[in-house]
Structures are given as C-alpha cells and as structure tokens.
C-alpha cells in the first residue's frame, strides 16, 4: 500500500477534496483505498460523505446500512454516498472517519466500492454507516473527489489516497 496523495483543508475550508486534480491517478496499482477524516459546517452532529469519479456525480447507486443514535436502518439511492463525517454540532475538535475501498479501478467493467465510517461525538447521537456502492461506468478511474453532502469541509479535514498492488500468483491452489 502506497500513499499517492494526501490533501488537508486549510483555513477557510473547502467545498471538496479532489485527488489528482492535475494529471491522472497512476495506473500502476490494482485497488485504491481512501482514508478520510472530515468535519463539515453542517449544523448537525454528522454529515454524509459523497464521492464523485472522473468529475462526475452521475451513474452511482448504493445500499446503505446505518446505525444512528440507537436506531438502525437501510436505504438505497442513486448518488455516490460513501460514509460519514462529523458535523459542526459534534463535539469540538472531533472528526469523523471513513474508509473507502475501490477494487479494480482500471478495469473496463462497472466499478463497485465499499465504505465504512463513523461520525465521532463525545455524547449521544453518534452514527455508523456501511455502504455498498456502484459506479456503473466502464471507464478507468482517473480522478476522485470527496466531499461533504450538506456542509463545507472545515479546516484540518484530511483525506489520503492509497494505491494497493495485488500479489503475484504464488502457491495458490484452485480446486
């Protein structure tokens, strides 16, 4: 696993973080992983994190399983939801954490992704999300944008894009 790019939001905040805003994501890896630590300006304890691929928010679908302040639920929708950030009503100085895994990002088939994340809050009403997502486009992924769904990313929000290289076919046995 190699860090490709880390972006940290500066003073004044940012609407989103775009990996490889200049150039393309290197095509030398097998899978991609993104680790996110976000806090947004949304006046709530949590906010959703969305992704866009190759500059587009279209052709996404997802199934979400959530636990939120003691309740559980499941829902589906047609945008690129990942998982969770902490909103600006959450405990001061806390940031939500999300992992996004995108396998076979260079393939010529539709891309699936999974995400798991939490909104941190040192009181009630913290949340947890698990998401199965699909970007139904066969193009290779060359750029990824991560953003808060309802609020602007606050200072010190950070996200890192990692490349993961698969191993060679070693002593694997197929039966």
């Amino acid at each position: 696993m190699q860090a490709i790019e880390t972006v940290t939001v500066g003073s004044g905040g940012a609407a989103s973080i775009e990996f490889m805003a200049v150039g393309d994501i290197p095509d030398t890896y097998t899978d991609l992983m993104i680790l996110v630590s976000f806090r947004t300006t949304r006046a709530y304890v949590s906010d959703d994190i969305d992704i866009q691929i190759n500059g587009s928010a279209a052709n996404f679908s997802h199934r979400l399983l959530y636990g939120d302040n003691g309740s559980v639920g499941s829902q589906t929708n047609t945008y690129g939801q990942a998982a969770l950030a902490t909103g600006n009503s959450g405990t001061s100085n806390t940031f939500g954490n999300t992992e996004i895994y995108i396998p076979n990002y260079r393939s010529s088939v539709a891309k699936s992704y999974s995400a798991a994340g939490v909104s941190e809050n040192n009181a009630t009403n913290a949340g947890q999300h698990l998401t199965a997502g699909l970007w139904n486009v066969t193009d290779p992924i060359t750029s990824i944008t991560v953003l808060g769904k309802n609020g602007t990313l606050m200072q010190y929000s950070t996200a890192t894009l990692y490349g993961i290289l698969a191993g060679s076919d070693g002593t694997t046995t197929v039966t």
């Binding site: 997802h62 399983l65 636990g67 559980v72 639920g73 499941s74 699936s112 698990l130 191993g167």
Partner: protein
C-alpha cells in the same frame, strides 16, 4: 504506533470457474491478514450468496459470527455458530446487473498460538442491493497457515462456483 501496510502475498484471477480457492503456505511473518474477493457466484436461484472461509482445512463446528445486514427487506442482525467463517454478502448470476461484488475481511493475529482468531469483514452485493458486515471467530489457537474460500451456497451443496474473472487477493499487514 503500528504502521498498516498491505504487503501483497498472493493473488489469483480465475480463468475458469472454481468451487473453491485455497491460499496455502501462508507466511507467518505479519501481524494481520486482509482478504479481498471481487467477483460473483454462479448461483442462479437467488440474487445474493456469501463468501465463507475455512482455516487450516477445519470443517468442524468451530466458527461463530454476528452480522448486521441491510437489503431490500430492511435490516437484520443475528448470531450463529457454523462450520465456516462468514465474510460477506456476494452477488450471484441471478442478479440483473452483471457487475462484480466485493468482500473485504481483516483476520487479526492470524499467526498467534495463544488466542482464538477474530475476523472483521464486510460484503457488497450492489446488483441485488445488499450490504453486510460480520464479526467472526475461529475457536482455535492454531496459527492460520491456509485459507479456503468458497461460496456459502456451494458449501450448502448447491451449484455455486466463483465465476470466471473473480479475483482473490491476500495481503499481509505489518505491525
């Protein structure tokens, strides 16, 4: 602080359908393992299957798990004992969409000989709009030296191979 790294150990892409895939002779030099399976089950009766594993060829009733699930029927959580460890939900050939699903699982302290082995995993069957996460345990103090991967339907005796193009990757995580 531990530095998580994905060291590629073995990867295989199926050139023909397989009822199971075994990672053998797993090196004992890492702290944890990560298993990533991307593909589909050939099961045709239901839209969802599951990826399940056995360690060291142990087919005894030495596994247990608790899961949380979200799908078109809502949500569910349950616990059970089993003869294999469940990793995550996986799409089948009955799905309306031909895209692959993915399962990602962490196997903690796999080489330890003084504790049972625990697994945290999540599955993604976007074509059938299902997502789940599992916490599983293998009640053995043996070090894990091999991992056999199959579909749940196959283990139940149905025709449910891993289809052509399915990839399975095993990574070592350094402490």
């Amino acid at each position: 602080m531990p530095t998580p790294t994905y060291i590629p150990l073995q990867t295989i892409t199926l050139g023909s359908a397989a009822s199971s895939v075994t990672f053998a002779s797993i090196p004992q030099t890492y702290r944890d393992l990560v298993l990533v399976v991307i593909g589909r089950s050939s099961y045709t009766i239901n839209g969802d299957d599951n990826i399940e594993v056995r360690f060291n060829s142990d087919s005894g009733s030495n596994y247990s798990r608790v899961l949380a699930l979200g799908n078109t029927n809502g949500t569910d959580s349950n616990a059970a004992g089993s003869t294999r460890a469940e990793f995550g939900v996986f799409p089948t050939s009955a799905s309306s969409n031909t895209s692959f699903g993915q399962v990602i699982g962490n196997i903690m302290d796999y080489s330890a000989t003084d504790k049972h082995k625990t697994i945290l995993a999540r599955g993604n069957s976007v074509p059938n709009s299902s997502v789940n996460m599992n916490a599983a345990r293998w009640a053995s103090t043996l070090a894990i030296t091999s991992i056999e991967v199959q579909t749940a339907r196959n283990l139940q005796g149905a025709s449910a191979d891993l289809v052509v193009g399915t990839t399975l990757s095993l990574y070592g995580i350094e402490a």
